[in-house]
C-alpha cells in the first residue's frame, strides 16, 4: 500500500514526466540521425574497397610517430600484410588528416535533398573505417547509419499497422459485441495460439523469396505488422467494453448521440493510454523481428544494409571469432531496446498504480 501512495505524489509524477521526456527525446534524436544517414556516414553503403576486406576499425591518432602532438586528428594509411588472414599494418609514413564537413560521395536525404557534404572524412587516398569493414571492404560505420533507416523505420510502420488493425477490430468487437465480437476474438485467439516466431516464419514461407529491396521493405512491414494485431486488439476491446458501460457514455447515448460519434468522441480517446503503451512494447519487438528475419536471410536482401543482414555474416564461426566488429550491428540494438524498455515501464507505471 505504502509504495503505491508514494508513486502518485506530485514530485514522483514530475520526475516521471521528465524521464519520459528524456527517453522520447533520445528516440527522436536517433531517428533524426537515421534520416541524416548520408551526412553522418563518410561513405556510401554500397561502396566497396575490395583491397580492404575485414579491415579492423581504423585508429584515430593525435600523436605522430616522432611523438609530436597534433590538434587535428589523423589516420595512417593501411598496408596488407602477407598471410591468409586479413591483417593490415598501419604505415606511419602515410598520414591522412581527418577533417570535418568535407565534400565526398553524393547522397540524397529522404529522397529529395541532394548533397555531397559529410560530417567527417579523411584526405584522399586515406580511408577511415570507424567500425571496420565487411567482406567486400564496405565501411561498417556508414552501413550502420544507412541500415538504421530500414531497421528503425520498419518497426515504426509495422507498429502503426498492428495498432491500426488492433484498434479498429478491438473497438468493433467491444462496441458491437454479439457475433462480431465472437468472430473477431476467435480469429485473434488463432493468431495468439501460434508461437510468435513460428507464425512469422509460416507467413513468410508463403511469400515470394527473392524480391527487390523496396518490395522486401513493404513485405516485411506488412508481414510483421499484420501478424501482431491480436494482442493489441484484445486489450483495446477490454478498454472499450468497460468504457461502454460508463455513465458519460450512457448519458451521451441518452442525449441521442449516434453510435459513430460515441465511438469517436467518447470511447476511442479512452484507449489512447493502451495504444501508447502498446507502441512502446511493440516497436522494439518488431525491430527484433526485422533483424531476425534479415539475419536469417529471409528479410531485407543484400546489398541494401539493415542491421539484421549486416550481422548475418557472423553465422560463419570463422568470421564470428576473428572479426569482433562484425557484431557491431547487433550491439547497437542494445541501447535502443533499453530505451524502449524503460519507456514502456514508465508509461505503464502510473496507469498501474492509479488503477
Amino acid at each position: 500500500m505504502r509504495h503505491i501512495d508514494r508513486q502518485l505524489d506530485a514530485p514522483y509524477l514530475m520526475r516521471h514526466k521528465r524521464t519520459i521526456r528524456w527517453l522520447v527525446g533520445f528516440l527522436l534524436l536517433l531517428h533524426l540521425a537515421a534520416l541524416l544517414a548520408g551526412f553522418l556516414a563518410p561513405y556510401s553503403p554500397t561502396a566497396q574497397n575490395r583491397e580492404f576486406p575485414y579491415a579492423a576499425p581504423t585508429r584515430i591518432h593525435f600523436v605522430d610517430a616522432s611523438g609530436h602532438f597534433h590538434l587535428r586528428p589523423f589516420v595512417y594509411g593501411m598496408e596488407q600484410s602477407s598471410g591468409d588472414r586479413q591483417i593490415y599494418t598501419a604505415d606511419s609514413a602515410n598520414v591522412h588528416s581527418l577533417r570535418f564537413l568535407v565534400r565526398g560521395e553524393g547522397y540524397s536525404l529522404a529522397g529529395w535533398w541532394k548533397s555531397n557534404l559529410h560530417l567527417f572524412g579523411v584526405d584522399a587516398p586515406g580511408k577511415v573505417f570507424l567500425l571496420g569493414t565487411d567482406a567486400y571492404g564496405r565501411d561498417q560505420f556508414s552501413r550502420l547509419w544507412f541500415g538504421s533507416q530500414i531497421s528503425l523505420v520498419t518497426p515504426l510502420v509495422a507498429t502503426v499497422i498492428s495498432l491500426g488493425m488492433g484498434v479498429t477490430l478491438g473497438a468493433m468487437a467491444g462496441f458491437w459485441g454479439g457475433w462480431v465480437d465472437e468472430v473477431i476474438m476467435r480469429i485473434a485467439e488463432l493468431f495468439l495460439a501460434i508461437p510468435w516466431l513460428y507464425l512469422l516464419f509460416a507467413v513468410r514461407a508463403a511469400l515470394p523469396l527473392s524480391i527487390s529491396p523496396v518490395g522486401a521493405f513493404l513485405l516485411l512491414v506488412t508481414l510483421i505488422g499484420t501478424v501482431g494485431w491480436a494482442r493489441p486488439a484484445r486489450l483495446i476491446r477490454s478498454v472499450v467494453l468497460t468504457t461502454r458501460q460508463q455513465d458519460f457514455v450512457l448519458s451521451a447515448r441518452a442525449a441521442g448521440a449516434s453510435s459513430g460519434s460515441i465511438l469517436r468522441q467518447h470511447i476511442l480517446p479512452q484507449t489512447w493510454g493502451v495504444v501508447v503503451t502498446q507502441a512502446a512494447i511493440l516497436i522494439p519487438q518488431y525491430l527484433l523481428a526485422e533483424v531476425t528475419l534479415s539475419f536469417l536471410g529471409i528479410g531485407v536482401p543484400e546489398p541494401t544494409p539493415s542491421w539484421g543482414n549486416m550481422a548475418g555474416s557472423v553465422q560463419q564461426y570463422s568470421i564470428l571469432t576473428s572479426y569482433w566488429w562484425m557484431l557491431a550491428p547487433v550491439m547497437v540494438i542494445i541501447p535502443v531496446m533499453y530505451v524502449y524498455d524503460r519507456l514502456a515501464a514508465a508509461l505503464h507505471e502510473p496507469v498501474k498504480s492509479s488503477a
Binding site: 516464419f201 523469396l209 564470428l320 540494438i333 541501447p335 531496446m337 524503460r342
Partner: protein, 321 residues
Amino acid sequence: MAYLVRRLLHTLFLLMGVSMLSFLFLQLAPGDYVSEMLLNPQVSPQTIAAMRTQYGLDRPLPVRYFDWVKAVAHGDLGYSFAYNLPVASLLGARARNTLFLTISAAVLAWLLALPLGVLAAEQRGGWYDWVLGMGTSTLLSTPDLLLPLVLLIFAVRSGRFPVGGMTSLDYSDLSAAGKLHDLVSHAALPVIALALTTLPVLVRHVRASVLDAMATPSLLTARAYGIRKNGILLRHTLRLAANPIITLGGLSIATLLSSSLLVEVIMSWPGLGPMLLEAILGRDFYVVIGAVMFSTVLLTLGNLTADALLYVVDPRTRVRP
C-alpha cells in the same frame, strides 16, 4: 471436470482453426516445391505434371485440406519434397531435440528465476533488488541473437565446449557415461543461451507477483499476528503469488519456442529451427505446416497444463463466478 473437458474441446477447435489458417496461407503462396523444379532444365514438364498429380497438387483447395486432415488423423503429416521423407518421421526427431532443449532451458530458467525474484521482492528497494533490476534490464535489452553468438565465441575461444550439433561423430561408439557427457557438453551452451533469453521476463514477473501478494490484506494480517518473516514468505506469500506465476509458466512456453528457433539456427542444434528455415527457403510447405502445428500443440498443452495446475494449487479458481 466439466471445466477441463470444455477446455480440451476448445483446444481442439483452436488446433483445427490454426491448421486451416496455415494450410490456406501456404496454398495461396506463389509457387510450390514442384514448380521450383521447373527452373531445372533436366526435369521435363511431363515429369512435373506427373508429380503434381501424384502429390495431389492439381486438386482443389478444400479437397486437399480434407485429404490432409484425414492423413493427419492417421499420423501422416504429408511428404517433404526436399528431404524425400515423410514429414512425420522428419519432424519427430527434430521435435524431440527441440523439446529436449526447451524443457531443459525452462527448468534451468525457473530454478534461477524463482529464488532470484522472491529475494528481490523481499529486499525491495535494497541494493540486491537494484543490481538484479539492472541485470534483468540489460538482459532484456540484449537481442535474442546476441546471447548464442557470444556463447559461441566463448566456446570457440575456450575450446572447452564442442561447437554446433548435438552429439560428436563417434557418439554411437561411446559408453553410456560417455554418451551422457557428450550430450551434456553439446547441450550446455544452447540451454544456457535459451534460459538466459527468458530469465529476465520470469524474474520480473516473479518479483511483481510476490510484491502484489505481499500487499494483500491477508498477508498484512499475518504479519500483524507476528508470524516470522520467512514463515510468511514461504507458507503464505508464495501460495498467493502462485496464480500469476503459474499462468506465466504456461505462457513462457511460447517465448521459449520462438527463441529456441533462433538459438538452434545459430548454434546448429538439430531441432526444428534449422529445418524450418530450410523448408521456407525450399518452399517445402508440409514441413512448415507440420512445424507450426507442432509448436501450436505444444503451446496449447503448456497453457492447459498451467490451467490444470492452477486448478489444483489455487482454490480460488475452482469457484465459478
